[in-house]
């Protein structure tokens, strides 16, 4: 297949995906629908992505003969640090997102070269809308929410969407163009913010406490609901800073998105405690605080939805859910086959939004199936070695000293 044919195939696939994503993240896809698209994506990636194509050939797999996407070879996230995993493209990537590099002692940062940001936007927006603003898709209601919905709608949005001011506890997209999380929050702000929000961390992730405090006061005065969004460690810093002082409660309808690990940047707080503290500090209903699970290597995200009907019992998880264009398997490390329900395994995701890199991504996270979704139990790396032999992390630290 020549380059032109490959580009044509890519263009057809991208259009099909954009259209499918446009139907919304709350649609239920049949297995056949997902499988058909996934197999096409696989065949494209086998041809267009040299590293992935080499792996398939190495294993003697002819992608055109596959009938089940689950038979595709998985690519471990660490391969994003070691190999160029982008499909060949006629132009440079629109963005290069980099991992924070925490999982392996910061030796090298993984790179996700994103040819086409419109696929990322098309994936993240409906997903965020489904899990962060489920009331938008609820049947029309009367009352204050409906009245508010009338005001400040966003032109061109999926449906008439009232503004939701975005206060991000991260650096801004211009300060940190290689962060996929920051890009995601920037996209949410473009879509939902009424112009009053912003990014309240400096490029080194330290928070501008005064500015954030001021923004919260202003939202309260204006009665403008906000979305506070940040990493767990940013919340811990923020809550520690404001603990001894009073903050005005955020307007009704405000919500919080919390994501990511701590990466050693703050003390660690169990998630339900952190959410409780966010709720009490900001007057946000506990069921309006949502955890997001995403990674640089994936252009789709998962959310652990709060029930929106009441606080789930402590420690009880509804599981992380994603949009229909990503599917998750929990794999036994030994066999790389799906574990039985309730067993712990490695989380593996097949993300159609990753059209231009690789879709079958094997993570370093252990997880377990919970209801319809999965619960993340944590990273496998970074645990203390159990002997006197050196762990990979120490070895990398030594290399940095020695080089």
């Amino acid at each position: 297949m020549n380059v032109l044919e490959l580009e044509e195939e890519r263009s057809e696939l991208a259009s099909a995906l954009l259209a499918a994503m446009g139907e919304g993240a709350d649609r239920i896809w049949s297995d056949d629908r997902f499988n058909a698209l996934a197999l096409r994506v696989l065949c494209y990636q086998a041809r267009a992505n040299p590293a992935y194509g080499a792996l398939l050939r190495h294993r003697g797999i002819d992608p055109s003969r596959l009938t089940d996407w689950e038979c595709a070879p998985w690519v471990p996230t660490r391969a994003f640090r070691e190999l160029p995993l982008a499909c060949t493209a006629p132009s440079p990537p629109e963005a290069i997102f980099r991992t924070s590099g925490t999982s392996m002692g910061g030796q090298t940062r993984g790179e996700h070269r994103v040819r086409d940001l419109s696929l990322y936007r098309a994936s993240l927006l409906p997903t965020a809308r489904r899990f962060l603003r489920p009331e938008l898709d609820a049947p029309p209601a009367s009352g204050p929410a409906a009245a508010r919905r009338e005001a400040g709608t966003i032109p061109g949005a999926h449906r008439a969407e009232p503004a939701l001011r975005v206060l991000a506890l991260t650096p801004s997209p211009s300060d940190l163009p290689d962060s996929s999380l920051v890009f995601m929050l920037g996209t949410l702000a473009e879509a939902w913010d009424d112009g009053g929000g912003g990014f309240f961390a400096r490029p080194d992730w330290s928070l501008d406490i005064d500015a954030l405090r001021k923004a919260i006061g202003q939202a309260q005065e204006e009665g403008q609901p906000v979305l506070i969004a940040g990493t767990a460690f940013a919340y811990v810093h923020w809550l520690d800073m404001v603990r001894s002082s009073w903050l005005p409660p955020l307007p009704w309808g405000s919500r919080a998105l919390e994501t990511g690990g701590y990466k050693g940047r703050s003390r660690e707080v169990p998630r339900h405690e952190l959410h409780r503290e966010i709720a009490s500090t900001h007057g946000i209903a506990p069921d309006h605080i949502v955890n997001e699970y995403g990674m640089t290597e994936l252009l789709s995200q998962f959310y652990e939805p709060a029930s929106w009907q009441g606080e789930p019992a402590e420690g009880e998880s509804t599981g992380h859910l994603g949009p229909p264009w990503i599917r998750t398997r929990i794999l036994a490390p030994v066999s790389l086959q799906s574990v039985r329900p309730g067993e712990v395994g490695l989380l593996a995701h097949f993300d159609l939004a990753n059209l231009d890199s690789v879709s079958a991504v094997l993570t370093e996270d252990l997880g377990v199936q919970v209801q319809e979704g999965f619960r993340v139990l944590g990273r496998i790396t970074g645990s203390e070695p159990r002997g006197c032999s050196l762990a990979m992390e120490d070895l990398l630290a030594a290399r940095r000293q020695g080089l």
Binding site: P50, A51, A54, L55, R57, H58, R59, W74, V75, P76, R78, A79, E82, L83, P333, V334, L336, V344, G345, L346, L362, E364, L366, I380, T381, S383, E384, P385, R386, G387, C388, S389, L390, A391, M392, D394, L395, A397, A398, R399, Q401, G402, L403
Partner: protein, 477 residues
């Protein structure tokens, strides 16, 4: 398995009333016991209890100082020899408990006990004294040296030895060193090394209550230190620690500036096979077998375990062929020394390491990955710029080299964490290569066959094991 007391207190220091959890008894206020997650009984101390124990150990130092060092070596060696006798009660209990405690298969556990205990025998302890001191009796009092100086060596009033990890026997070797230099101690063994040190202390109490009175072996979970842990940091005048960089750094920050700390932080060992050693198949196979044993022993957890092997090109046996030989030997050892099931995290790490390696090999078009389907062992050969990587368990990374003379340069980035190099090369090349590595950070050059078992007098991470524990006094004329 019955509840095992994860402690051995000095004889006569009443053990806690285990039915009175955590509160102590009338006779021993502030000493109590609780059960840790693994089903062991863990003794807990409050301030008064800890203070009593440390006072007691401190005082025992006077008695210990009056014993001759040769006599001490004999007494300690008698206890150590019990672990070499398969019929002995201590040995049997060690064999029964070790597999679960240290995550080793039974056959491997037996091999580890025998290998470690060999160095605890009377003969080896006397040899240790002789290798360490020109005149071991400097530990008994002033002696006149060969050059006419009047000198004596002392091991301090009370030491705190802190183990981490699950290499069995490390704690026992450490307590022997302290007692040989007549320093009473509290040993906190690593979670996977409780049995051998507790059993040794029990055996010592049967032989000599006075010497046993200078020793307390006490395990506590790292996340819940008690008053004893805190008091030790201020009262011990010698601290010896085995642990990762984080453990060592934390300990350093907590100790008074005047307390000497001997830290054995985690290290990496490796192997190097010269082209001369790969000139015929039988020799190459013999080396592969010894290398496989070194990789397998301690399940890769030992600081002496080779995690990567450099292979020189140009021999009759190509690196790829030798990799296949090594894989066959690892497969055979999988039968002789079956591993305990890997933890989910280790299995996952091995899986990810293999998947990533396979991608690199596929992309580069060269290299070889050989491993069993159960993820128990892996041989990974990658030509090109070596990726300095360590992986869990029985995994070894092979790096082909044009010439072993490149080693000093290749090892430079790792100099702060290097330890043993098994160097398979004929003389005089071996000596020349070792000489070139003198400043590399490698502190021990040996063969694969000897790699897992350094003798008790080895220069542990570059220092004499007893000499690093003593302070000298000189009386000038």
């Amino acid at each position: 398995m019955s509840r095992f007391e994860a402690f051995a207190l000095p004889p006569g220091f009443e053990p806690p009333d285990v039915s009175d959890r955590g509160r102590g008894t009338d006779r021993n206020p502030g000493v109590g016991a609780a059960e840790d997650g693994g089903g062991m009984l863990v003794v807990r101390f409050d301030e008064a209890g800890a203070s009593m124990l440390l006072d007691r150990l401190y005082q025992s130092g006077e008695l210990l100082a009056r014993r001759g060092v040769r006599e001490l070596a004999t007494i300690l060696g008698q206890v150590g020899a019990r672990f070499l006798d398969p019929r002995d009660e201590l040995r049997r209990e060690a064999e029964a408990r070790l597999p679960a405690e240290a995550g080793l298969g039974s056959a491997m556990a037996r091999r580890v006990i025998e290998g470690m205990a060999r160095d605890w025998s009377e003969e080896r302890l006397h040899r240790l004294l002789e290798e360490e001191f020109e005149d071991p009796e400097v530990l008994d009092g002033l002696r006149t040296s060969r050059t006419g100086r009047h000198i004596a060596a002392t091991g301090g009033h009370m030491a705190f030895h802190l183990g981490a990890g699950n290499v069995p026997g490390v704690g026992t070797t450490s307590l022997l060193r302290s007692l040989l230099v007549k320093c009473p101690l509290v040993l906190k063994p690593g979670r996977g090394d409780v049995t051998l040190s507790v059993l040794f202390a029990r055996g010592l109490a049967e032989v000599d209550t006075a010497v046993a009175g200078s020793l307390a072996v006490i395990y506590w979970p790292r996340e819940s230190p008690d008053a004893l842990a805190r008091q030790l940091l201020t009262r011990a005048d010698r601290v010896v620690a085995y642990g990762g960089s984080r453990v060592v750094a934390e300990l350093r920050s907590q100790l008074p500036a005047t307390t000497p700390l001997v830290a054995y932080h985690h290290r990496v060992s490796m192997g190097a096979v010269s082209r001369e050693a790969l000139m015929n198949a039988s020799e190459a196979r013999r080396i592969a077998d010894a290398a496989a044993r070194a990789v397998t022993l301690f399940e890769g957890h030992g600081c002496v375990s080779p995690r990567m092997i450099w292979i020189e090109k140009g021999g009759a046996i190509a690196p790829e062929e030798w990799a296949a030989m090594l894989a066959e030997c690892l497969a055979a050892l999988h039968v002789d020394w079956p591993p305990a099931s890997p933890t989910p995290a280790d299995a996952a790490e091995t899986r990810l390491m293999r998947e990533a390696a396979e991608m690199r090999i596929a992309a580069a078009g060269v290299g070889k990955l050989i491993g069993d389907p159960g993820l128990s062992w892996t041989v990974l050969l990658e030509p090109g710029e070596p990726r300095l990587e360590v992986s869990p368990g029985r995994t070894v990374h092979l790096h082909p080299l044009e010439s072993l003379e490149e080693l000093p340069l290749r090892l430079k980035p790792l100099s702060s964490v290097l330890q043993t190099l098994a160097l398979e090369a004929p003389e005089p090349r071996k000596r020349a290569l070792a000489q070139a590595l003198q400043r590399s950070g490698i502190t021990r050059v040996t063969t694969f066959a000897s790699q897992p078992w350094p003798p008790s007098w080895w220069l542990h991470d570059g220092s004499g094991p007893l000499r690093s524990l003593v302070r000298w006094i000189e009386v000038e004329p």
